[in-house]
């Protein structure tokens, strides 16, 4: 290679560039970057010592694995495409819907107060249902039982707008899901799924997001798969998407039959994955690629 560089300066640059692309990739991209996430003057926790029982020493928000252009979009609400949905969600909050003639605001008043911290605790144990429920299921439960309105589809614009709006009221608060008591068996179920290899590629969540985070998988920088920023705006989707949509996409990538959106497997997995990010700041709606 060295002799070729001497022979042709132009070719030499190309060779150096390519050698660097391969060799320097490790140096330049290994691990998360050191940038700090600040939104509206508030600093967000994107890194902290791992919670008890975590396989990591340190946990990182997925934000730390994105490039600076993507990071910058999340740092300014005007540039964050997810805020279109936050605004739609705010309008839906006080819009009367359903046979009871009520809106969310009829009971919950000011979301800035009543919805503060809600996202951070999801999925949450629901005594009446006898199982944990996600934010989407909580919203639809309220719509059906209290508003007497039709449930929204999981990935509909209305649902994404409402989860983004409610989620935004927990921004900067630490993820804090319950894992003990009645949640314990669900947490165990989620953990089992996390480590189970499935699909034609025979991979588990852990194979990439635990054993190989920080490395490049082709053009993608593998994160720890934290879910503190959902719903998240992905440039790949060109819109917001739910946690379960992301799970589904991962499963299809490894050519596995995805579990049902909103089904027990994904709820258990959501709980377990959320618990791996205890203490990270809620970033909903975050921006990723």
């Amino acid at each position: 290679m060295a002799t070729k560089i001497l022979k042709s300066k132009r070719f030499g640059y190309a060779v150096v560039g390519l050698a660097c692309a391969a060799a320097c990739a490790t140096a330049a991209f290994a691990g998360p970057n050191d940038n700090k996430l600040t939104i509206d003057g508030q600093e967000y926790v994107t890194e902290l010592p791992a919670p008890e029982g975590s396989p990591f020493d340190t946990i990182y928000s997925g934000w730390r694995f994105r490039n600076e252009a993507t990071q910058a979009m999340e740092m300014d609400d005007f540039d964050n495409p997810g805020f279109t949905n936050v605004e739609s969600g705010e309008a839906l909050w006080s819009k009367v819907d359903g046979e009871a003639g009520k809106s969310c605001a009829s009971c919950h008043n000011d979301a800035a107060e009543s919805m503060k911290g809600v996202r951070a605790q999801m999925p949450k144990w629901n005594e009446k249902a006898g199982k944990p429920v996600t934010l989407e299921q909580t919203i639809n439960g309220c719509r059906e039982n209290n508003l007497k309105a039709k449930p929204w589809k999981w990935e509909s614009n209305e649902m994404l707008s409402m989860t983004a709006f409610i989620g935004s009221k927990s921004r900067g608060m630490p993820v804090k899901v319950q894992t003990d008591g009645p949640m314990k068996s669900w947490w165990e179920k989620g953990k089992k799924l996390y480590y189970t290899r499935v699909g034609q590629l025979d991979m588990s969540c852990a194979g990439c997001h635990e054993d190989n985070y920080g490395k490049m998988i082709r053009a993608d920088h593998l994160s720890q798969g934290q879910i503190n920023g959902f719903p998240t705006y992905r440039s790949k989707w060109q819109k917001l998407g739910s946690i379960h949509r992301r799970f589904k996409g991962c499963m299809k990538n490894i050519r596995a039959q995805p579990y049902e959106v909103g089904g027990e497997e994904f709820v258990a997995l959501e709980l377990y994955v959320a618990s791996r990010g205890q203490g990270l700041s809620v970033e909903s709606p975050s921006v990723r690629n």
Binding site: A19, A22, A25, D202, A219
Partner: protein
């Protein structure tokens, strides 16, 4: 009479084709036996094509090898993954029998802990329906990829 002839001719053809495929067909994925990390005989009984192998190697729906490995000889392809070891000089480190075994079923050839998928394995947990019971690569494609890997010398 003519119909009877046609029917018996078709029957004869079927028998002939079946016997030919039984003799010359590739080894089925569940019949492959890896011993001490090696698979000495070609899955097809023939050597593969390194030119075709290079195509399967980089094809994202087939080998997709660059997702996880660096290959400095494929500089026209951007973004080489870092999950597995670089494949530069892989033929200096492994024999053809070892390379074949690793491509066929890395978990049997190397370690159950490896993330590398088996490319000629037919049993998986919960595969997407369209991939159920099928290996990622055909026997011919495995041999082509092995032939290509044999060219990666330093």
């Amino acid at each position: 009479m003519q119909r009877a002839f046609k029917a018996s001719f078709a029957g004869l053809m079927t028998v002939t084709l079946l016997s030919v495929s039984a003799l010359a067909g590739p080894i089925a994925p569940d019949k492959v036996k890896i011993t001490d990390g090696e698979l000495k005989t070609s899955l097809t009984g023939k050597p593969g094509s390194d030119v075709k192998g290079a195509e399967w190697f980089k094809n994202r729906k087939l080998g997709n090898c660059l997702a996880c490995h660096v290959n400095s000889k494929m500089t026209d392809e951007q973004f080489h993954g870092e999950i597995g070891p670089p494949l530069d000089g892989v033929a200096d480190r492994y024999s053809e029998a070892q390379l074949r075994a690793i491509v066929v079923n890395a978990k049997a050839a190397l370690s159950d802990k490896t993330l590398m998928p088996g490319f000629y394995v037919s049993h998986y947990t919960d595969p997407l329906k369209k991939f159920a019971g099928k290996p990622i690569l055909t026997a011919e494609q495995v041999e082509d990829v092995v032939a290509y890997l044999k060219t990666l010398k330093e």
